[in-house]
């Protein structure tokens, strides 16, 4: 048997926690060859990052403990190697790119310094390191590479920061690059660029690329082989084509089935008197124009998806409508009353008709309140909705409606998973019997399979309760299954607005087409054609 570049054999890792021993990874084996891209696919808690951390000696021990297995790099076991030797391999032979480049770059040093440091610790002299740093920044496509050397991480955009991380990983021309969710925090168009850059650099250097991801689309785009992980175990391996078209394990089937963007497209119910009429909404922050005159209508019981990249102003629309921010000018008629110019006092009473569900349920639910308190708090503030004796019954009813059970009422938010927490947030919004719910990236932080469940829940609520939704998202496939109308935004303006069928079937604007083309399809063949289409599009 030929020797692999990196060979992980029977690796088991466990963590000692307050709640007992957690077996993060159980007896897993995989290998990586030169010039190959291996994807490890899994949802949160599947243990997909742990094996990478073991390779890089990043597991804190204690509480972590490697109970069995070996990691062979060019035939030598990394796990039994002295620390100083591993340090010499880290960054030089095996390098790593992380998910959150803002957190992973040191905020108090310039990116140039951080890049040069990588080379200096591995014995390159200062002048040579500086020269190479400039080459690398040019190669990864940072604008004005010379000036970039002297800038701090916070002065770059998310995509640029990830390019800095990539430059840092490539500095020593490593044999292996491990990329842990490298594009998860990025916009779709930027994601496509970063993945293309990684693939290009791999062709140039012949490095082995280990890509850790939760996104089937990313796998379809770049992987040669894929390893699917669930609760610390490998459930399936194969090429992306094999795994997608012929999944063997029930978990893989479930994961592929949950991928959004394949359901039927909704058609709007037809026009009537709009519930909300927004006209020429303008908002500026200093010299920055966040909204440059946005107008749209929303029918009762309809879902309007607002799609755009970060900085496009999609969240600002929501914040202005709820008066969490004051708009500079414009009107927003809610059943004929202008929300923007309404006195605060009147608005206060009206707020219960418009509710919001936020992106991160961990942060938007008070950790010191039980689920019962969280949901019933609405009635403390608006006592006219429900008399106190009926609260308990209604809380149980709401929990059942969002797919939880009545005994959950006594628990606290930390006792739930991310998806369950988002259900609680939805139940809290429903408690006020709203006519409009604004979801600001409400499913972005959730795993794919959970995402599908929450979307199904929202769809059910829409049909049963005739609630209208403004659904803010950056992910187009999610929107496709759920929206009646789609509004595409860019730099504070509406690029295109239309029914979901029009936008997805026949986009009129180049930007919309680019956005659609940049989205990754979980089907490797579809993704291949899409990539060719994208490359053909004018930049």
């Amino acid at each position: 048997m030929a020797e692999h570049l990196l060979d992980v054999k029977n690796l088991s890792v466990q963590f000692h926690t307050a709640g007992g021993i957690v077996k993060a990874v159980r007896n897993i084996s995989w290998h990586l060859d030169r010039g190959e891209t291996l994807a490890i696919l899994g949802e949160s808690g599947s243990g997909k990052s742990v094996s990478a951390s073991a390779i890089m000696n990043l597991i804190d021990m204690p509480p972590g403990e490697i109970t069995s297995g070996e990691v062979l790099f060019e035939g030598r076991n990394l796990l039994t190697m002295p620390t100083s030797e591993r340090r010499a391999i880290n960054g030089r032979r095996i390098a790593m790119i992380f998910q959150d480049p803002l957190g992973h770059l040191n905020p108090v040093y310039t990116v140039g310094w951080q890049l040069i440091e990588t080379m200096r610790i591995h014995g390159i002299d200062k002048a040579a390191a500086e020269k190479r740093a400039l080459e690398l920044f040019t190669r990864v496509g940072l604008p004005q590479p010379e000036a970039a050397m002297h800038k701090y991480p916070h002065q770059f955009s998310g995509g640029q920061r990830q390019r800095v991380m990539i430059a840092m990983a490539l500095a020593m021309k490593p044999d292996i690059v491990i990329a842990d969710e490298p594009t998860t925090a990025l916009d779709v168009t930027v994601q496509a660029e970063v993945l293309a850059l990684l693939a290009e650099l791999q062709r140039e250097t012949g490095m082995g690329l280990l890509l850790i991801t939760h996104d089937l689309g990313v796998v379809a785009e770049v992987a040669d082989r894929v390893v699917v992980m669930n609760s610390g175990e490998i459930v399936e391996t194969g090429t992306p084509q094999e795994v997608y078209h012929n999944p063997q394990h029930p978990y893989t089937k479930k994961l592929i089935g949950a991928a959004p963007g394949k359901g039927a497209i909704h058609d709007p119910q037809g026009a009537g008197k709009p519930l909300l009429e927004v006209k020429q909404l303008v908002k500026t922050y200093g010299a920055f124009k966040a909204l440059k005159g946005v107008s749209f209508n929303l029918q009762p019981g309809e879902t309007l998806a607002v799609v755009g990249e970060s900085g496009s102003g999609k969240s600002t629309v929501a914040r202005c409508l709820l008066r969490l921010e004051e708009a500079d000018s414009g009107e927003a008629f809610w059943k004929g009353r202008d929300l923007i110019s309404m006195p605060r006092k009147e608005l206060y009473g009206l707020r219960r008709q418009i509710q919001m569900v936020f992106q991160d349920p961990t942060q938007s639910l008070n950790p010191r309140m039980s689920v019962y308190d969280l949901i019933s708090e609405a009635w403390v503030i608006h006592p006219e909705i429900l008399p106190k004796p009926k609260w308990k019954e209604r809380v149980h009813e709401l929990l059942a409606q969002v797919g939880l059970s009545p005994e959950h009422a006594k628990r606290y938010p930390h006792q739930f998973s991310g998806g369950q927490r988002q259900r609680i947030a939805i139940a809290r919004a429903l408690a006020l019997e709203p006519q409009l719910i604004i979801c600001d990236e409400a499913v972005s932080a959730l795993d794919v399979s959970i995402q599908a469940q929450v979307i199904a829940l929202l769809d059910k609520l829409r049909q049963e309760l005739k609630i209208a939704f403004i659904f803010i998202a950056h992910d187009l496939p999610v929107v496709r299954d759920f929206a009646d109308h789609v509004m595409v935004m860019k730099s504070g303006e509406i690029v295109e607005i239309g029914t979901a069928r029009e936008i997805f079937g026949n986009p009129k604007q180049d930007y919309t087409r680019r956005l659609l083309a940049a989205g990754l399809d979980p089907d490797p063949e579809v993704q291949h054609t899409r990539r060719q289409e994208r490359e053909a599009l004018p930049a």
Partner: protein
């Protein structure tokens, strides 16, 4: 930049003006200066003379006008006790205070940062436990008591060090050691806590993945990020050094300074200088001049550019 400096100068002038008014009128509130300053058995004649001599018979507002006028001419008046220019008395005392404060602050800063950082690297390890124990004792020992005990042991019983006076290196050891203990204990705890937090950061993970060595991770990658709260406390401590130093000098008598100091803090203290209280100045810097924090954290450099 010029606008910034101008703004800072203007705000400093405002603070100074408030201070001058407060010092002048508050010192008048403590009672008749002549009665307070002269001994109880002084005759009416003596009191009258004293008042006449120092212009205390004029209306308060006239006295205040004169006080400010003199200040503007950099005339800080006469020390009542020593009958020589107040500025000389203050400068003489201040020189000692300043030297002691500077030496102690430097020593405390270096020792606390190095030991605190190393302790935080392996929380719960032997070194960490030992350092935490020492710092806890240091931070909780009342220093006036430590000063007396130190004199009794090292100066009186063992006779290793002089009890008071100045001149040789030996004279410095006792006051510096005593002044060192409390701020060292406190700052060490702050450094340790702040470093613990920084060690958990994602960029430390990146540094490890790059192959950076342990010492470099501690003192280059982590320390600078952990310095903000440390600087805040060091500033505060340096300010209160002046305060503590005065108390200690009563026990560790470095005679000349003590005399000068007694004048400064005598109950009637009528020397006519706007005493820029050391503590006030540093606190003022901290709140009014966040610019120096930018040395530590470049993210605060251009607040106007942040979203």
């Amino acid at each position: 930049m010029r606008k910034l400096i101008f703004g800072r100068i203007l705000s400093s002038f405002f603070s100074l003006a408030v201070l001058i008014v407060a010092v002048f009128f508050l010192s008048r509130l403590t009672g008749d200066p002549a009665a307070l300053f002269l001994p109880a058995e002084a005759t009416q004649q003596m009191l009258d003379n004293f008042r006449e001599q120092h212009g205390l018979n004029d209306p308060v507002i006239v006295q205040f006008g004169r006080y400010v006028w003199d200040l503007l001419h950099l005339d800080f008046g006469q020390s009542l006790r020593q009958a020589r220019p107040a500025i000389d008395v203050v400068i003489e005392g201040f020189a000692w205070t300043f030297q002691l404060a500077a030496i102690t602050t430097v020593l405390v800063t270096v020792a606390a940062i190095v030991i605190g950082s190393l302790a935080a690297y392996k929380p719960g390890g032997i070194f960490d436990r030992f350092a935490s124990l020492v710092s806890l004792i240091g931070a909780s020992a009342p220093d006036f008591w430590v000063a007396i005990v130190a004199i009794v042991i090292f100066a009186v019983n063992l006779a290793w060090l002089p009890t008071s006076g100045t001149g040789t290196v030996w004279h410095w050891i006792l006051p510096i050691s005593v002044l060192f203990i409390r701020p060292f204990g406190l700052i060490l705890q702050i450094v340790r806590g702040s470093m613990l937090q920084s060690f958990g950061s994602l960029y430390v993970k990146t540094a490890r993945a790059k192959g950076v060595g342990n010492l470099s991770i501690i003192f280059i990658h982590t320390l600078r990020n952990a310095m903000l709260p440390v600087i805040t406390v060091i500033g505060d401590q340096a300010a209160s050094h002046a305060e503590r130093r005065r108390r200690h000098r009563d026990h560790l008598r470095l005679p000349r300074r003590r005399q000068a100091d007694d004048r400064q803090h005598s109950p009637t203290r009528l020397q006519r200088h706007p005493r820029c209280d050391h503590g006030h100045c540093t606190g003022h810097l901290r709140h009014e001049h966040p610019d120096r924090y930018r040395l530590c954290d470049p993210r605060s450099a251009r607040p106007d550019l942040r979203p």
